[in-house]
């Protein structure tokens, strides 16, 4: 077998073993989308109830809570970038980071300091590689975030919110994450978490029917022990729930992005294999043609020199 053919054969072999890996990853991601979406949906009643309760307290009482009142001056804003731990998800990580960069530029233009928090290994490496300071980063749960993870993030953010500017505290907090709408529709978005703008935002989980309570008029509630106490207890939970639903939605989006990226990779591998097979065939044909013409040429030469015997 000629050298040309051997090169093509080697390429075909390596491409088809890559293709197997891509295909396997595509299938794994596809099955994990379902799981991630189910998890997001399971958590949505909690988010819905909390949101409803916070709206009730906020609309019915004149409580001024630090978390809901707009501070006079905003000197520093925290930006939480929620990205993936692993790659192989196409432009998923790049998109969410680009959205974060846009937000950061916007905040800087408004004269605010930016404190960076990251979730997931990819955003972390992106910023450490560029020598940008990260206040805190969490990794290891981007594909299956739990309530405890969200709580940890929520506590850290609340703690820095309560600190003074001089002690490194922040005055507002933004979440940047990818919102999963369907297997093919996901959008990186940023939303302000604190101070809260209560609240008629649809926090429904991906795929869930949207809440019917949009225009609901709340009855007059009794609060026990008091509206302040209830709000005190509710707001941290509300923040945790918001973070949790952002994490879950991002997890579903990550799997969807991975599935799509791996599908493309598999298709491309198929194309490559086809191209290389064609090239290998051409090389084989060329070799055969050359051998034939060599033989024919040899016979001709022999025939020409034959009669001298």
């Amino acid at each position: 077998m000629g050298a040309q053919q051997r090169v093509y054969k080697a390429k075909i072999n390596s491409t088809s073993s890559l293709r197997k890996i891509f295909k396997a990853m595509e299938l794994i991601a596809a099955s994990r989308i379902q799981k991630a979406v189910a998890r997001a949906q399971a958590a949505s009643p909690y988010a819905r109830e909390i949101t409803r309760a916070v709206s009730v307290v906020a609309t019915q009482s004149n409580v001024d809570h630090t978390l809901t009142t707009e501070p006079d001056t905003i000197d520093r804003a925290a930006v939480v970038v929620m990205g993936p731990d692993r790659g192989f998800a196409g432009a998923y990580a790049a998109n969410v980071i680009r959205e974060a960069e846009e937000l950061i530029t916007l905040l800087r233009d408004e004269g605010k300091d930016v404190a960076l928090y990251t979730v997931g290994r990819k955003p972390e490496t992106y910023y450490t590689f560029r020598d940008r300071e990260i206040v805190r980063s969490w990794t290891g749960f981007s594909e299956a975030p739990t309530g405890a993870d969200a709580r940890e993030i929520g506590e850290e953010l609340l703690a820095s919110f309560e600190k003074d500017f001089s002690a490194g505290g922040v005055d507002e907090i933004y979440l940047v994450s990818t919102v999963y709408r369907s297997a093919v529709d996901r959008q990186p978005e940023y939303r302000r978490l604190i101070p809260l703008e209560v609240v008629e935002e649809d926090v429904a989980a991906p795929g869930a029917r949207s809440t019917a309570s949009q225009d609901e008029v709340f009855p007059l509630y009794e609060f026990e022990p008091s509206a302040e106490k209830v709000l005190d207890a509710l707001l941290p939970r509300y923040i945790d729930a918001r973070i949790q639903s952002a994490l879950l939605s991002a997890a579903a989006a990550e799997q969807a992005a991975r599935q799509q990226a791996m599908k493309t990779a598999t298709d491309n591998a198929d194309d490559l294999i086809k191209t290389y097979t064609r090239l290998a065939n051409t090389a084989r044909q060329a070799e055969i043609t050359q051998e034939i013409s060599e033989i024919v040429g040899g016979v001709d030469a022999l025939a020409a020199s034959g009669p001298s015997d």
Binding site: R39, A42, A43, P45, Y46, E49, I50, R52, A53, V56, V57, T146, G147, F218, P219, L220, Y221, E222, F223, E224, P225, K229, V230, A233, L234, R237, D240, A241, Q244
Partner: protein
């Protein structure tokens, strides 16, 4: 008598939902019993057991930890950080 629609949710899932005639829970102020027609109320759950007497006559006990209880229009939601049904 009208029935209450009860929902018990924890942070990661809906734990129990159904019709009930009576819900007894412990708030920070003490035990509270809720029947149909109760005035709208929002209270902090102090932890411990929530007892739900279903319309079928069975008692469902749910362990609810931290969270709140809201009652309006004969709809009771118990929202807890962690909750589970105990038999």
């Amino acid at each position: 008598m009208a029935a209450l629609t009860v929902v018990v949710v924890s942070a990661d899932r809906e734990v129990w939902t159904g019709e009930a005639t009576r819900v007894v829970a412990r708030t920070t102020e003490g035990e509270i019993g809720i029947l149909a027609g109760h005035e709208p109320l929002m209270g902090l759950v102090a932890g411990g057991e929530v007892r739900i007497l279903t319309t079928a006559g069975a008692t469902v006990r749910a362990q609810a930890d931290g969270g709140f209880l809201s009652v309006a229009n004969d709809r009771v939601s118990v929202v807890a950080d962690a909750a589970e049904i105990v038999d």
